[in-house]
C-alpha cells in the first residue's frame, strides 16, 4: 500500500500538474465551494428579498447582475444557487456511487448467478432513455429536491457498477488478494482493505463527470418546470425564469447560464485530467 500511495503523490501529481486545463477546472471547482460556503459574506442581499416595485432592473452598482421578475438580486441568487446546484450534484452522485459500488463489488466478487442477475439488471437499466425515467418519476411524485437527487442517483449508477466490477475481476486473482485470503481474511476485509482502495480511482473520475451531468439534468428539469422549486434558487430555475426574456432582460438568463456552463466545463476538465493522470497506459 505504501508503494501505491507514494506512486499517487509523485506520478499522479507530476502528470496532473502539467495539465493546465485540468488545473483550471480544479481551481474553478474550489472557487465554487468557497463561494457557496461564503455566500452570506459575499453579498449583502438576501436571496429571497422580494421587491415587487423593482422587478427586472438591469445590472447596476446596487445589483451587479440586475434583479429578477420579483425584484430579487440576481447576483445573490446565483451565489446561493451554487449551493443548491452543488448539493444536487454531490448528493445524487453520492447515491449513484454508493449503489454502483456495492452492486459492482458484489457482482465481481461473488460472480456466478449473482453476477449474471446484477449485470442483466445493469443492461436493462442502460436501455432506458434515462431522462425519460427521471421525468416520469419526478412528474408522478413531486418536484422535491430530495426526490430529484434520489432519482438522478438511482438512474445513474450503472456505469459505476460496471467500472467497479471490472476492477474487482482484475484484482480478485492478484497476489495481494490471494495472499490476504490465504491468511484467512474475511470477504469484507478483503473488499474494504484491498479491493475498494484500488477501485477508487476510476470511480472518482466517473463521479466527477457525474456531478456535471447532475447539474445539467437539474437545469433541464427546471426548464420543464419540475426541477428545484421556488423560492429556493437553483441555477436551473433562475435560468428558466430568464428564458422568456432573452432579448430584453438578458441578465436574468446570462449569469445563471454562464454559471452552469463554467461549472460543468470545469468538472469535465478536472475529471478528464484525473483520468489521464491515473491512466497507466498513457505513460509519457
Amino acid at each position: 500500500m505504501a508503494l501505491r500511495e507514494s506512486w499517487f503523490y509523485t506520478v499522479f501529481w507530476r502528470r496532473f500538474r502539467h495539465n493546465r486545463l485540468a488545473i483550471a477546472g480544479g481551481i474553478v471547482v474550489l472557487l465554487l465551494f468557497l463561494l457557496s460556503f461564503l455566500a452570506p459574506y459575499i453579498t449583502t442581499w438576501e436571496p429571497g428579498a422580494i421587491d415587487a416595485y423593482h422587478v427586472l432592473l438591469s445590472p447596476s452598482p446596487d445589483h451587479w447582475f440586475g434583479t429578477d421578475e420579483l425584484g430579487r438580486d440576481v447576483f445573490t441568487r446565483v451565489v446561493y444557487g451554487a449551493r443548491i446546484s452543488l448539493k444536487v450534484g454531490f448528493v445524487s452522485v453520492g447515491i449513484a456511487v454508493a449503489i454502483g459500488t456495492v452492486l459492482g463489488l458484489v457482482s465481481g466478487f461473488y460472480g456466478g448467478v449473482v453476477d449474471t442477475v446484477i449485470m442483466r439488471f445493469v443492461d436493462i437499466m442502460l436501455c432506458f432513455p434515462t431522462f425519460f425515467l427521471i421525468l416520469a418519476v419526478i412528474a408522478f411524485l413531486e418536484p422535491d429536491i430530495w426526490y430529484i437527487m434520489a432519482i438522478i442517483g438511482l438512474t445513474g449508477w450503472m456505469g459505476v457498477a460496471r467500472l467497479v466490477r471490472a476492477e474487482v475481476l482484475s484484482l480478485r486473482e492478484r497476489d495481494f488478494v490471494l495472499a490476504a485470503r490465504a491468511l484467512g481474511a474475511s470477504d469484507l476485509r478483503i473488499i474494504f482493505r484491498h479491493i475498494l482502495p484500488n477501485a477508487a480511482s476510476p470511480v472518482l473520475v466517473s463521479a466527477t463527470l457525474g456531478v456535471a451531468g447532475a447539474i445539467l439534468t437539474e437545469s433541464a428539469l427546471s426548464f420543464l418546470g419540475i426541477g428545484v422549486q421556488p423560492p429556493t434558487p437553483s441555477w436551473g430555475n433562475i435560468l428558466t425564469a430568464g428564458k422568456d426574456y432573452v432579448e430584453f432582460a438578458w441578465w436574468l438568463s446570462l449569469f445563471p447560464g454562464l454559471a452552469i456552463l463554467v461549472t460543468v466545463l470545469a468538472y469535465n476538465l478536472l475529471g478528464e485530467g484525473i483520468r489521464d493522470a491515473l491512466d497507466p497506459r498513457l505513460n509519457r
Binding site: 493546465r20 486545463l21 442483466r120 439488471f121 443492461d123 436493462i124 437499466m125 442502460l126 436501455c127 432506458f128 432513455p129 434515462t130 431522462f131 425519460f132 425515467l133 421525468l135 416520469a136 418519476v137 412528474a139 408522478f140 411524485l141 456535471a212 445539467l216 437545469s219 433541464a220 426548464f223 420543464l224 436551473g236 435560468l239 428558466t240 428564458k243 432573452v246 432579448e247 438568463s253 447560464g257 452552469i260 456552463l261 463554467v262 461549472t263 460543468v264 466545463l265 469535465n268 476538465l269 478528464e272 491512466d279 497506459r281 498513457l282
Partner: protein, 326 residues
C-alpha cells in the same frame, strides 16, 4: 454468424421482460390516477361516474393481473388506448411521432460521428498542443451549455435578429404547395438549428473517446513497428492506427441512442418539433399511463435493437467475436 445472431436475439428476450417489468412497476406505483387527471375538477362529477371510468379503463383489477394483461398486449405491440380524451391507440400516437424523432436523431448521430471522429483523431495526433486544448474546451462547451438556453439564443440570433432561419416547427406554412425540391429544402432549413444543437451537445463524449482510443492504439507495438519500418506518419496514422481505433467506437453507436432520445424532450419542446420526446412529456404531465409505458418500452426496445445492430457490425468487422466468444 447466424448462430451468433440467434444467440443475441434470444438474449434480448429476458432483457425485454425486465424492461416491461421495470416500466410497469415504476409507472403503476406512482400516486394518482389517470381518471382524476381526465375529469380534473371542472365538472360536478359524481363518485359513481368516476367508478364507471375506473372500470372503463380496467383500473379496478389487482396489479399483477393488470401487468399480465398488459404484457400479453405488449407482445403484439398493442399498448392499449391513450387515457387522453381522444382515446386513440397508443401505438398510433407513437407511430406518427417516431419517424420525426428517429430521423432527427439519426441525422444528429451521423453528424456526431462524422465530426467527432476526425476531431478526436486530430486531437490525438496533436496531443497537448494548443489545438488539442482548444478542441477539448470546444467540445466540452457543447456538453456544458444548457440545451434550451443555447437553443433560445440561436433562435433569437438566426431567427429574429438575422431572419435567416425559421424558429420552430418542421415546415413553413403553405409548404404543402411547394415543389418537392423546395419542400425538402424548407424542411432542411427547419432542421438546421435543432440538429446543430443536438450534435454540438453530443460531440464531447465520442470525440474524447476517440482521442483516448487513438492514443492507446498509437502506442501499440505494431504502430511502433510500422513507424520503425519508415512508413510515413500519415500512412501510419490513417492506414494502421485509425482502422483499429474505429472498432470499439462501433459499439458506442447503440449506446448513443438512449441519450439522444432522452435529450429530445428538451429540444422538441423548445423547437416545437412533434416528436416522441414531446409526446412523452405531455403524456407524463397528463398521467396518460398507457402512453408513458408504451414510450418507455419502445424507447428501451429501440436501444436494444441499436445495440444489436452495433454488435453485429462489430462482429462483422472483428471475426474474433463471432467465432470465439459468440
Amino acid at each position: 454468424m447466424l448462430n451468433y445472431l440467434a444467440k443475441r436475439i434470444l438474449a434480448m428476450i429476458p432483457l425485454m421482460l425486465g424492461i416491461t417489468l421495470i416500466t410497469f412497476v415504476v409507472i403503476r406505483l406512482a400516486p394518482g390516477e389517470p381518471v382524476e387527471a381526465m375529469t380534473a375538477l371542472s365538472p360536478k362529477i359524481t363518485a359513481e361516474t368516476r367508478q364507471r371510468l375506473r372500470e372503463f379503463y380496467g383500473l379496478d383489477k389487482p396489479l399483477h393481473v393488470q401487468y399480465v394483461t398488459w404484457l400479453k398486449k405488449v407482445a403484439t405491440f398493442d399498448f392499449g388506448r391513450s387515457f387522453a380524451p381522444d382515446h386513440r391507440p397508443v401505438t398510433d400516437k407513437i407511430r406518427e411521432r417516431i419517424p420525426v424523432t428517429l430521423s432527427l436523431n439519426i441525422i444528429a448521430l451521423i453528424l456526431e460521428f462524422g465530426l467527432a471522429i476526425p476531431i478526436g483523431v486530430f486531437a490525438a495526433t496533436h496531443r497537448d498542443t494548443l489545438y488539442d486544448k482548444g478542441i477539448t474546451v470546444f467540445v466540452f462547451l457543447g456538453f456544458a451549455v444548457p440545451t434550451f438556453w443555447l437553443a433560445l439564443l440561436l433562435m433569437y440570433f438566426f431567427g429574429v435578429k438575422l431572419g435567416w432561419l425559421p424558429i420552430s416547427g418542421l415546415h413553413s406554412l403553405g409548404s404543402e404547395g411547394y415543389s418537392r425540391l423546395s419542400w425538402f429544402g424548407d424542411l432542411l432549413k427547419h432542421l438546421i438549428l435543432p440538429v446543430s444543437v443536438a450534435t454540438f451537445g453530443s460531440l464531447a463524449g465520442l470525440s474524447r473517446y476517440m482521442r483516448s482510443t487513438m492514443l492507446e492504439v498509437i502506442r501499440q507495438d505494431y504502430i511502433t513497428t510500422a513507424r520503425a519500418k519508415g512508413l510515413a506518419e500519415r500512412t501510419v496514422i490513417y492506414r494502421h492506427a485509425l482502422r483499429n481505433a474505429l472498432l470499439p467506437v462501433i459499439t458506442l453507436l447503440g449506446f448513443s441512442l438512449p441519450g439522444l432520445i432522452g435529450g429530445s424532450v428538451i429540444f422538441e419542446t423548445i423547437f416545437a418539433i412533434p416528436g416522441m420526446g414531446q409526446l412523452f412529456y405531455q403524456g407524463v404531465m397528463a398521467r396518460d399511463y398507457p402512453l408513458v409505458m408504451g414510450i418507455l418500452v419502445i424507447g428501451a426496445f429501440l436501444t436494444l435493437v441499436g445495440n444489436l445492430l452495433a454488435d453485429v457490425c462489430y462482429a462483422v468487422a472483428d471475426p474474433r467475436i463471432r467465432q470465439g466468444r459468440g
